[in-house]
Amino acid sequence: MTPIYLDYLSANPLLPEVQEAMIEAIRKNLGNPSSQHQLGDQAAEALEKARGQVACLLNCANPKEIVFTSGGTEAINQALKGVAMANQGKGNHLVTSNIEHNAVLRTLRRLRMLDFKVSSVSVDPYGRVDPAEVAKAITPQTVLVTIMHSNNEIGTIQPIEEIARITREKKVPFHSDAVTSVGVVPVDVQKLDVDLLSFSANQFYGPAGVGGLYVKQATSLWPLLDGGVQENNKRAGTENLIGIIGMGAAAELAVQQMEARMKRLLVLKSRLIQGLKDSVEEIFINGHPELSLPNLVSVSIKYIEGEGIVLMLDEEKIYVSTRSACAAGALQASHVLLAIGRDFADSQGTLVLTFGQETTEADIDRFLAVLKNVVQALREMSPLYKKPN
């Protein structure tokens, strides 16, 4: 039985070209980009090549605006804490949405401990933020607006360009957590006109533990890490060069292949959604029907709990993620699902299915066939389920 992997959001496989680039870098034994000698120059050259490749993916005209980090979480922490700290004299208010990733929510929670205030705008049942609500939430005290580009649980893509027009007009810096978007769908920092944008290599077949932050020139930002002068004084510490080279290679491939990948993913996505509707009764497909990621389907299955589904699918070597409270460990229902109007009980039976390069139509079909039986087995065990007559 060949395993079926529908959990690309958790971890992407490294593409062969990415592996090659990284292995070559390891074998070459590149030095430290900060060194003054030839070996250092060689390392610095490799670092700047990768920066160029990443800048290209974001259509960023000035590669100096890319700061490499240890991943999306660091980039987000850097953006939020860095801007808040740098603007303490100007104000103490931030604006966000109520469906952000924990990297944003918990960073904001931390800032609240330092007397920053946070306003959170709600979303419609598709998970879309209304830019007018963002405009209303901005006060003279606002030092940053942070709204994610696409949601990691339901895939909905936000009207970032429109929000950026508002923040530009009000002269408030705007950060977008684009971790689930960059490398998957077009993200053009010039077109979006954001001030800061976070991303992670592992979402586009690069290595985990590498990511970056786009910082538009002249954005006030305190570094999260102090020390050396790496990354234009924005991020101290010797660069993770091997990882960054991997991200660069992955970014270049993403630029070349994005259109073809998206086309393929959309075929898989509609097959999966149609198949779910055909094979399982009483489900909700979460997220926006069109303005959403091509590689993600979120489905809430009534009367059962997600961890049970994951474990039963695991027995069949089918790997998926759930957003149930139990599986999350925190015993809380997903704030994203609640924000779009799912109730606690329905949130429990929610799967996040993410697919990619190696997923085939046959995988989708086998997943659907197995899921149908798993859902039936669990529903028969559930006191909430009443068999249709």
């Binding site: 709990e305 474990l311 015993l331 704030h335 606690f344 429990q348 909430l384």
Partner: protein
Amino acid sequence: MYSSTVMDHFKSPRNVGEIEDANGIGEVGNPLCGDMMTIFLKIKEDRIDDIKFKTFGCGAAIAVSSMLTEMAKGKSLEEARKITNKDVAEALEGLPKNKLHCSNLGADALQKAIKNYEDRKAGKAVPEPKRVEFPVISHAHSHGEKCYCPYCNVEVTEAEGVCKSCGHTIPPGQPA
């Protein structure tokens, strides 16, 4: 994550279903908390002649239900009353720490079902178990634990009425 015993009971749960002519029924938890368990008893001459369960919940909750029914089957009421949540968790060779609350449902449901049997026997009016129908947005406490903002997940004090983190009004809590 789970012991092999837990996985065994999850994969092949024993005694799933309902007993049509049950003379003791106990229901605990609610779907809002993520777990709900119903125990059906057929008691003959103060002995558990048959026991079945239905559970909405995670792998641990299902394994707990299954193990509990195995432990209680054939026991006298006196013996069954002594089954604790700890016994069930031990019989399952332990549960992950964050799942211990699931095991707290099992014995409670059994005790509730026994009480239900005794109340019926004593001729007491037994209220139908109240089923929590899927309500619109509200928030639940995980079995008497902390209260979290249903919008942004931050721990809140219900008395405050408003989540300090996201500014949302906190709706009234559901009894766990």
